[in-house]
């Protein structure tokens, strides 16, 4: 597969070379600046994040949102013909990419596909979300072993799906609902099937907890082996008394932020065990994540609930852009959760979703369950290699992703409070095909940029060390 991927890179770019000295210095400075607080607070984990980003272009893309947004503001960034001031204030995901899609088991028990990472959600221009998703699919497609043309076609599928859903909503049709077995493609069906199966089996609890003497406790230590030296695969680490107090305070604040239909009895949130989880994510790999095992509906260990408290920081900013009222949310936990509820099909796609603020720390709280299994590039790569999934199957996923993004933009609020549909629809006008062509052109060109930047980044890691030349204060 590595050979096929390398071949894809060469086909796409002709001859991708590490970038010039100017771009190299800019990348180095920007990525250090973007990660400065983490480099100071978690130098070892941030070095691990950089190692992950250096391993493959898709992970570089995931960890370099700030680079994308800075590039998007450059005069040579391929100006859009489909923007407007109003369409620059819609609810955006900020960082849509294929691995930010996942299954959810809603409060009513139905399974659906949704975007699942709202760390970067904010108000901004819709077209940068569409372009980012399209680029993500092109890079993922290449990495999954698709040929050049097939990978490029994924950008078109994203944009076509986007235009289709905006058009449908504009005509008053029902918003998209992604279910299993109703024509959304093999990959969506496979994901929802496995999520439901493994969620029913409470596989996540089995992976991260053990029952001993009638008491369920979190495991400690390695859950998954490191994928490469210096990077944690999946592990739970003990926490000290200070962290335990922090988590207790967070849990005390959290119930009021739950969806009104899903507020459990106080005893259900009694914490039984706490551990720090390491290894998840790319961009957020060094951030604080705590797994908290809580009592659940009854004292029975079989209905214990595993919650994740994930630190949420500021979203990456659009350089040079500021909303007049620059603080539409009180804190980042509230921002991420309110954006998620507004973006998804229903506000209780995760009934345990909420947030907690303790001093300067804000956390998004969510249910950890296999019901929320995400799209995996590794599985995509494996299935494509085995011939079980075709390029058209991946395009089906890209099309659905484009439609989900459109639905979120259209039905989510704008910075002024109305819905985004009117602004996006007006910006697209009657030239949906033109928007698709523009998006494809951008995605092809920027995917090449990502591949070249990845090579530059890998060279920087070799030459400048694990912190890219930054020297942590401690």
């Amino acid at each position: 597969m590595r050979t096929a991927f390398a071949l894809g890179l060469v086909l796409l770019t002709g001859c991708v070379q590490a970038e010039d000295a100017g771009r190299r210095a800019w990348l180095q400075s920007l990525l250090v600046q973007d990660n400065r607080p983490l480099l100071e607070r978690e130098p070892a984990l941030t070095a691990g994040k950089f190692r992950k980003m250096g391993a493959r272009p898709y992970d570089f893309l995931r960890g370099s949102l700030a680079v994308y947004l800075a590039d998007a503001a450059r005069p040579d960034a391929m100006p859009t013909r489909f923007g407007s001031a109003a369409a620059s204030r819609v609810l955006v995901l900020g960082d849509p990419h294929p691995e930010n899609l996942g299954a959810f088991r809603r409060g009513d028990g139905r399974m659906s596909l949704e975007f699942n990472d709202f760390d970067g959600a904010t108000f901004g221009p819709y077209h940068l979300d569409v372009r980012r998703l399209a680029v993500g699919f092109v890079v993922a497609g290449l990495q999954a072993g698709l040929d050049d043309d097939a990978a490029r076609a994924l950008a078109g599928a994203v944009a076509e799906g986007y235009v289709l859903e905006i058009d449908r909503l504009g005509r008053g049709l029902a918003p998209l609902r992604v279910r299993r077995g109703v024509g959304f493609g093999h990959i969506v069906d496979d994901l929802l099937r496995r999520a439901e199966r493994d969620g029913d089996a409470r596989e996540h609890l089995d992976d991260y907890t053990r029952v001993k003497d009638g008491q369920r406790r979190l495991r400690r230590g390695e859950v998954e082996a490191p994928p490469m030296p210096g990077v944690v695969g999946d592990a739970l680490e003990p926490v000290d008394a200070d962290v335990r107090r922090l988590v207790d305070r967070a849990l005390a604040a959290y119930p009021a932020t739950l969806h009104a239909k899903h507020r459990p009895a106080p005893r259900a949130l009694r914490p039984k065990d706490v551990a720090r989880r390491l290894g998840a994510g790319v961009a957020s790999y060094p951030r604080l994540r705590y797994y908290v095992l809580v009592e659940g509906p009854t004292p029975d260990v079989d209905d214990d609930v595993l919650l994740e408290l994930k630190e949420v920081a500021d979203p990456a900013r659009f350089p040079g852009y500021a909303l007049p009222a620059s603080r539409p949310f009180v804190d980042n936990g509230e921002r991420a959760v309110r954006c998620q509820r507004a973006f998804q099909e229903v506000a209780d796609a995760d009934p345990w979703l909420g947030w907690a603020t303790v001093g300067a720390m804000t956390f998004r709280v969510r249910h950890r369950t296999r019901y929320q299994r995400g799209v995996s590039l590794d599985r995509l790569t494996e299935k494509v290699a085995e011939g079980e999934w075709s390029a058209e199957d991946v395009a089906d996923l890209a099309r659905v992703a484009g439609r989900l993004l459109a639905r979120g933009h259209a039905l989510g609020p704008t910075a002024e409070g109305g819905r985004g549909l009117g602004a996006v629809r007006a910006a697209l006008g009657a030239d949906g095909d033109g928007f698709v062509d523009e998006t494809v052109g951008f995605a092809r060109r920027y995917a090449e940029r990502v591949l070249a930047d990845h090579l530059t980044f890998a060279a920087l890691l070799d030459e400048e060390g694990p912190w890219l030349g930054h020297h942590p204060l401690r």
């Binding site: 250090v32 923007g83 620059s88 620059s326 603080r327």
Partner: protein, 376 residues
């Protein structure tokens, strides 16, 4: 403080200009021609500056926003000894969260930070030459030089400062050389290059030279000043090029002034390959004694000049101002501006190339500029 008729003020300034002075450059030039002058004599001076007001903004798509704003709140203390030594510590209020950030101190509270913290030693040399050495978190020489003749700081900062071309202060040292009764001023600086917001990120130091030349100083108080600047800089961990050069001029009379500044950035925004050009021009005049004046400003920042992807942002400002010192006894300046601003951008300009209207704004400002100081 009693209102001073222009003629009397002119005479006073002319007399001041004729008064023999030390050759070493005044470390506290009292930004702006008629602004506060911190300790001219030995002693300890406390001063404060406050620019505050109300903005009503009108954006594309019929969006509006209005707010009371605090553009500047500074407290400074400066000490000057008898042997040409001294120091300044200056604090400024800033919002604790960055633009668009939700991470701040108790929301987005105003907090105080150090703007400048520096000390100097100066001496007179033979042949009318002067020398002064500054060290610490020192003021940017170009900003200081231009603001000697720029009377509109309360209305807007120089594009040189607000456009990311120069920072207000930086850690390092500056050597000032003066000649011809301070009409020739040369500042040689060596600083980190990261500005006051960052500690040093790389091994390279930023060195620069700023020249101020008062070519004409008439008995009527009219000065004609030329500026020139060159900087060889680096910024960020990647040591990106951050060079600057340019020049300008200003005409300054107590009742009127005008000036223009042109700056080129070779390396911009932490990117060696980016270029930018800044052009700004301004004029102000008192129309009715001290009570009423008019001011206009224009600034244009062009990115990637000369490329196909060239893009510009510009701002035009027109203002009426009134100096109402009589109502604020003890202040060195109490000025009220009523201004109109128009922001615009090319199609290719940030933040979203192709969506120029995002940068369009009309703004009406009512702003108060208050400055005062006291020496002990």
């Amino acid at each position: 403080m009693a209102r001073t008729p222009p003629a009397a003020l002119t005479l006073a300034l002319a007399l001041a200009a004729a008064t023999p002075a030390g050759a070493a450059l005044d470390p506290f030039p009292g930004v702006e021609p008629d602004g506060p002058r911190r300790p001219l004599e030995s002693g300890l001076t406390l001063d404060a500056q406050l620019f505050a007001g109300y903005h009503a903004s009108f954006f594309a798509d019929d969006q509006t926003f209005n707010a009371f704003v605090l553009d500047r709140a500074e407290l400074g203390t400066a000490w000057r000894g008898r042997d040409e030594v001294g120091a300044e510590l200056r604090l400024e209020a800033v919002r604790s969260a960055g633009e668009g950030s939700l991470l701040g101190v108790d929301g987005d509270s105003l907090v105080l930070r150090v703007k400048r913290a520096w000390a100097f030693w100066g001496t007179d040399l033979p042949a009318g030459l002067g020398l002064r050495l500054d060290g610490g978190l020192v003021p940017e020489p170009l900003i200081t030089e231009v603001e000697r003749t720029y009377a509109l700081r309360g209305l807007a900062p120089l594009l040189a400062e607000s456009g990311g071309l120069f920072d207000t202060s930086d850690l390092g040292a500056v050597l000032h050389l003066t000649a011809w009764d301070q009409r020739v001023r040369l500042a040689l600086s060596a600083t980190n290059g990261e500005g006051r917001n960052e500690r040093e990120q790389n091994e390279g130091k930023t060195v620069g030279a700023t020249l101020g030349l008062t070519a004409l100083r008439s008995d009527a108080g009219l000065d004609l000043v030329f500026f020139g600047v060159y900087r060889d800089g680096s910024v960020g961990v990647g040591r990106a090029r951050d060079d600057r050069y340019g020049g300008g001029f200003a005409l300054r009379h107590p009742d009127a002034g005008a000036g223009a500044l042109f700056l080129v950035a070779d390396g911009y925004g932490g990117d060696s390959d980016r270029a930018a050009q800044g052009v700004e021009a301004w004029a102000d005049a008192r129309l009715l004694w001290d009570a009423l004046g008019v001011a206009v400003r224009y600034e244009r920042l062009t990115f990637e000049p000369g490329d196909d992807a060239e893009a510009s942002r510009q701002r035009v400002t027109g203002a009426l101002f009134g100096d109402v010192d009589a109502w604020a006894a003890g202040l060195q300046r109490f000025r009220v501006y009523l201004a109109y601003e128009n922001d615009g951008a090319d199609e290719g300009a940030a933040p979203f190339p192709g969506v120029a209207e995002v940068a369009d704004a009309h703004r009406v400002l009512l702003r108060v500029e208050a400055r005062g100081s006291r020496t002990f």
